[in-house]
């Protein structure tokens, strides 16, 4: 007779789970006992993380790199609460993660039991859904439902909280559900509305300065090819949100970069000057459109393709709101355009954007002797890595440099915490991505502040033979905060600068990883090649001047047209 724990594992395996990231404890150790044989026969792999936050990020990285849900587990109480940051990060970036949390026994719940935390109360507002299992028979259907909820509509994390006494219970016969059954849940539909499609096609055909803005939805819908085909058909330039970077190969001649708060100035200018914007798989986030009024004042027409029907009803009035899967709707839109016939070549418009690009490049690619410039570091790394290498980031200045300068060449190869801005995302997400795509080189572009938030998981990477490379932009400061203090708080620098600890090379070596101190572009190249060849976890520390700024930027609360592209300290 299978136990509740065994049924849980079997239910996960039935959903195709191969890897579980987690840490065992009093309330989930029954799960571990149940999957020992699966580990031995290779049907499952468990990755013992050093903190549950990292387990959630690793599952998130696994999901983003593979397109299928990542799974993590934690015990009750502190184990569950440690998942919080990781799961809200997945929620804000629409990533399907399944978390199985152990709970104290049913007769102890609510009695301030040892390691008890109210998982329902904690997770119900920071995940797509959380369910408390009340009896053994519910496990099969709710594991299936969890995967269904996590992967349909706007993807997101789901928590299944299971009291540990249920893990011990046994049942004679397990009824495995064929289909999910969630009352009060509906997948967002794909609505093919011919009239709306025709109207959208007319807007794009008649526009003089059309633009396509792509977001993460293009990645989840695997609609990169459809976006490119539409752009090429009408000669429409493409820009992206920050996470939408991962959708479009940056060497495509129609791509002009990520727009927004720290985005490329030419992309933001393209967004402002366009007279029609096709928004695909993106919402109007305050990080992309820093001022809704500014965007409304352009009087452009907006067409939105989004899986979430109400995203087009929010801050900005959308002229045509197409609801559903981006891949399907883009194909239908292309058909509608072909039926109506193409009118404009948009060559002047594209020429103008190229001029913008050339103009801003003089500010971006500014070199200084005896300093490692972030843009040049990233270019060096890009030249060494294979085209399909997966890159994750932490959060901070290095992330903003990556937004502007990292060239994504294959879809789904750039993973960053863009919605929640969670420091510490880079390393564990890279580990998850590497397990999802073991054939790919995976590099974590990180900052010294961000890396140390979850850097203890380097031990896991070494122990578990997960050969990721962390490249640390080491400026000994919380650079993005420092930059704001410097530029907008009257140079009142406080609470951001670090001392000499730690020595990242020694730290890496203490964990059993390779450590490199790369103080020139040649050393960066050489250390990367060595790390890839050795195929074990590595840390490459790169010294960056703490006065270095992440540009372009905006003043706090600023509009896109207020973009700052040169160091204001030097002009004064």
């Amino acid at each position: 007779m299978p136990t509740g724990a065994r049924i849980t594992i079997d239910a996960l395996k039935r959903e195709g789970v191969k890897v579980i990231f987690g840490i065992p404890g009093l309330s989930n150790m029954q799960l571990y006992d149940a999957f020992i044989e699966d580990l031995k026969n290779g049907e499952l792999r468990h990755v013992l993380m050093r903190h549950e936050q990292a387990a959630a990020h690793a599952a998130d990285g696994y999901a983003r790199a593979s397109g299928v849900p990542g799974v993590c587990t934690a015990t009750s109480g502190p184990g569950a609460t440690n998942l919080v940051t990781g799961l809200i990060t997945a929620y804000w970036d629409s990533s399907p993660v399944i978390a199985i949390t152990g709970q104290v026994p049913r007769n102890s719940i609510g009695k301030m039991a040892f390691q008890e935390a109210d998982a329902m109360g904690i997770f119900e507002h920071i995940t797509k859904y959380v369910v408390e299992i009340k009896k053994l028979e519910e496990i099969p259907i709710w594991i299936k439902n969890a995967f269904y909820i996590a992967t349909t509509g706007r993807p997101g994390p789901v928590v299944v909280d299971i009291p540990r006494d249920i893990f011990y219970e046994k049942v004679d016969e397990v009824k495995w559900p064929e289909k999910p059954m969630v009352k009060g849940y509906k997948e967002f539909p794909t609505i093919i509305d011919r009239q709306k499609l025709k109207k959208a096609a007319e807007i794009l055909i008649n526009a003089e300065r059309p633009i396509i803005l792509v977001g993460t939805g293009v990645v989840w819908s695997n609609a990169t090819q459809e976006v490119l085909e539409l752009a090429e058909l009408l000669h429409i330039p493409i820009i992206s949100t920050f996470p939408g970077k991962s959708a479009i190969p940056h060497d495509h001649p129609l791509y002009f970069g990520a727009m927004g708060y720290y985005g490329r100035a030419e992309a933001s200018m393209a967004a402002l000057e366009s007279d029609a914007m096709l928004v695909v798989g993106a919402r109007f986030s305050d990080r992309t459109f820093t001022s809704y009024d500014e965007m409304i004042e352009t009087r452009k027409k907006f067409i939105m393709i989004n899986i979430d029907p109400s995203d087009g009803e929010r801050a900005i009035r959308v002229d045509v709101n197409l609801t559903g899967d981006a891949k399907i709707l883009l194909r239908e839109l292309k058909k509608a355009i072909i039926e109506l016939g193409i009118k404009n070549e948009h060559s002047n418009w594209i020429k103008r954007l190229k001029e913008y690009k050339e103009y801003y490049e003089q500010f971006y690619y500014y070199d200084e002797p005896n300093k490692l410039k972030p843009w040049k570091v990233l270019k060096t790394i890009r030249n060494v890595l294979p085209r399909d290498a997966i890159v994750t980031t932490g959060v901070g200045q290095h992330q903003m440099w990556a937004e502007v300068f990292w060239e994504v060449l294959e879809p789904r190869t750039f993973l960053s915490s863009t919605g929640m801005g969670t420091m510490g995302f880079g390393l564990p997400a890279a580990m998850g991505a590497k397990l999802a795509r073991p054939d790919k080189v995976v590099v974590d572009l990180d900052g010294d502040g961000s890396f140390l938030m979850t850097g203890n998981n380097l031990a896991t990477a070494v122990d578990e033979h997960i050969p990721i490379i962390s490249v640390i932009f080491d400026n000994r400061t919380l650079g993005l905060v420092r930059q704001v203090q410097d530029l907008f708080f009257g140079n009142r620098i406080v609470g951001v600068d670090y001392g000499p600890s730690p020595d990242f090379v020694k730290l890496a070596e203490a964990f059993g990883a390779l450590g490199f101190n790369a103080t020139s572009y040649e050393e960066i190249e050489k250390s990367l090649k060595t790390a890839m060849k050795e195929n074990i976890p590595a840390v490459i520390r790169i010294p960056i001047d703490k006065e270095e700024l992440a540009l372009p930027t905006l003043p706090p609360g600023g509009k896109l047209k207020q973009v700052i592209v040169r160091d204001p300290r030097k002009s004064s």
């Binding site: 119900e124 009060g184 849940y185 509906k186 929010r314």
Partner: protein, 131 residues
């Protein structure tokens, strides 16, 4: 005086978290709830919850979000609702009075009267009925 909007939420109760999620949809947008009343309406766990919500600019977003909450089948905005309040006194007599006139242990029932309903389910407006 702030205009009050009347909302009817229909969804499947699995645990009291259902009510927390409904309330949270307004709390997260810095909105208040004036009153709430609800009941089970079917044997398979379908509940209806009526709420009086002071209108703010965030109202539409709250309704959209609520309509996309797992367990929630649909959200109805009773567009032109006028609330009549009935006081059920301890002895069972029912009178139409203002809520402040109720005494301890009296029960107040908020009865909306309306002609227009906008129905939203999983982000989509599925009905806009005029009775």
């Amino acid at each position: 005086m702030t205009q009050e909007k009347v909302v009817r939420v229909v969804g499947y109760y699995r645990d009291p978290g259902f009510l927390e999620r409904i309330a949270g949809a307004f709390r997260k947008l810095l909105m208040d709830v004036n009153w709430i009343q609800g009941r089970k309406i079917s044997d398979d766990g379908l509940y209806e919850v009526y709420m009086g919500v002071p209108y703010t600019n965030n109202f539409d977003i709250a309704i959209q979000n609520l309509s996309k909450t797992v367990d929630v089948e649909k959200v109805e905005v009773l567009e032109d609702a006028v609330i009549k309040t009935y006081i059920i006194k301890r002895d069972g007599t029912i009178v139409q009075r203002e809520p402040y006139m109720a005494k301890e242990y009296d029960i107040i029932v908020f009865k909306p009267e309306f002609t227009k309903v906008t129905v939203r389910s999983w982000g989509i407006v599925v009905g806009k009925d005029i009775y």
